[in-house]
């Protein structure tokens, strides 16, 4: 188990390469919060229950991601600024396979 590198572009358009641990049961939303890449209270509002879409992001690399759960799918159906590559950060768990992942945070809504 080791850290992986993730490239996260924040809402201001700045890209950050951060180390994400794979052994802490962390998800992408939590990585964003841990590195404070979006102001507190604007990301992960529901805490990671796929119930608010504040952690929506666009996945730009070709990594194979776990399929969307019904909850995530339904939440994205009600969110704004949704694109084909939209995912909820809280539903993407940090695993070795995601090394080099590239994501852009969706606008706040």
């Amino acid at each position: 188990m080791s850290d992986i590198k993730i490239n996260i572009t924040d809402r201001e358009g700045v890209t950050h390469q951060v180390d994400a641990p794979t052994d802490m049961n962390m998800n992408l939303m939590e990585v964003v919060r841990a590195y404070e890449l979006a102001p507190e209270g604007t990301v992960g509002i529901c805490g990671g229950m796929a119930m608010c879409a504040s952690c929506q992001c666009y996945v730009n690399s070709a990594h194979e991601l776990p399929e969307k759960s019904d909850d995530e799918d339904a939440m994205l159906a009600e969110a704004f600024y949704v694109e084909d590559n939209s995912r909820l950060g809280c539903q993407i768990h940090m695993t070795q396979d995601l090394d080099g992942l590239e994501v852009v945070l969706a606008p706040e809504s």
Partner: protein, 353 residues
């Protein structure tokens, strides 16, 4: 003017529990909340989700935690101003505060405890460029009085419980109800989904899916909307409407509290965590998720602790000359303002012969 001892802003778990701790000190509380019901996020976002880290509850549904708290504080007869957002605060010469809501309701108290969580819940608005032009002129995000829609042509957008429930309700009130959703699937209580299916089959609800409202037009008031169905021509369908109600859930915003002169850091209110969770304005406290201090954790269990210490400090502020020692409920029991009394049963002392 509503007067009380501690005015609590936010009726989530932390605010509710503060009523109990205040009650033990014979202090009365009144709560203001922007939502129409108590419970904050627990009621609004995740009532059916379990929580596993409330002391003494191996598992409790968020909604049940709220009803338990309501039961626990009942003897202390808290007042509620629900569905109104605390807007302004004024400190009077005698040191008391007057808090006024967006609807003009005034509250006066010597102590204000902000238990506002992530802020007040505001409706999430769809991205339509002239949407704000028609607000209250055909566009509404919250249904306050369904009678307004009697005989109207109404379009509801959204795919959750509120979109389903209001479509069902308005099917009997409005002359025409159209429900627009981006998917064919809805997420809501099973019987709501089935009921909408039934009403659709009976022709009482016009269902357009997968589709999106893409434009609004009208003069002084909303007259028609454009609905684009997936795979359709870009022009979409024009539909004459009287009202458009987008129901895409609520998201919390710190809102007017941010302008009260309180020290704000990371969208939260800085407090003194070495003592009593008081803010930079003496007499105003911030407890629960709305505050921040070194090592802060946004947990309900931490909010309960903060509420308890806040009440002790509030008591001393209100009665600076009174001597007081904290009493265990097991020893002192709980005496409600309603005359009720709960106490530990007396031990039986009886000789065995």
């Amino acid at each position: 003017m509503i007067t009380t001892d501690i005015l609590i802003i936010g009726a989530g778990p932390t605010g509710l529990f503060a009523v109990f701790e205040a009650g033990l000190l014979q202090l009365k509380c009144h709560l203001i909340d922007a939502l129409p019901q108590a419970g904050g996020q627990c009621s609004e976002i995740y009532p059916k989700k379990p929580i596993y880290d409330i002391q003494g509850f191996p598992e409790v549904l968020a909604g049940n935690l709220v009803s338990n708290l309501m039961e626990q504080i009942k003897p202390f007869q808290p007042g509620f101003t629900l569905g109104e957002r605390a807007e302004t605060i004024k400190k009077l010469a005698d040191g008391t505060f007057v808090v006024t809501t967006n609807k003009g309701t005034e509250h006066s108290a010597p102590i204000v405890a902000i238990a506002g969580g992530l802020g007040s819940f505001e409706p999430r608005k769809p991205l339509l460029k002239n949407l704000s032009d028609f607000e209250d002129k055909g566009v509404a995000y919250i249904i306050k009085d369904p009678e307004v829609y009697r005989g109207q042509k109404v379009v509801i957008a959204g795919g959750g419980d509120s979109a389903l429930d209001w479509s069902i309700f308005l099917a009997d009130v409005a002359s025409e109800v159209t429900l627009v959703h981006r998917r064919n699937e809805f997420r809501g209580a099973l019987d709501s989904v089935e009921k909408v299916q039934q009403l659709k089959n009976q022709g009482k609800i016009n269902l357009i899916t997968p589709a999106e409202v893409t434009g609004l037009s009208g003069g002084d008031t909303l007259e028609s909307i454009t609905i684009k169905k997936a795979g359709d021509t870009p022009e979409g369908i024009q539909l004459k409407v009287d009202s458009f109600i987008p129901l895409f859930g609520l998201s919390p915003k710190l809102g007017p509290i941010a302008d009260w002169g309180l020290e704000i850091e990371k969208n939260a209110i800085k407090v003194d965590n070495t003592l009593d969770y008081q803010t930079n304005i003496p007499g105003i406290y911030a407890i629960g998720d709305v505050n921040t201090y070194p090592g802060k954790l946004k947990l309900i269990l931490c909010g309960f602790h903060e509420a308890t210490l806040m009440c002790q400090s509030a008591y001393q502020r209100i009665f600076p000359d009174k001597k007081y020692v904290m009493k265990y409920t097991t020893v002192g029991g709980v005496t409600g303002f309603d005359g009720s009394k709960k106490e530990a049963p007396k031990a039986v002392v009886k000789k065995i012969e």
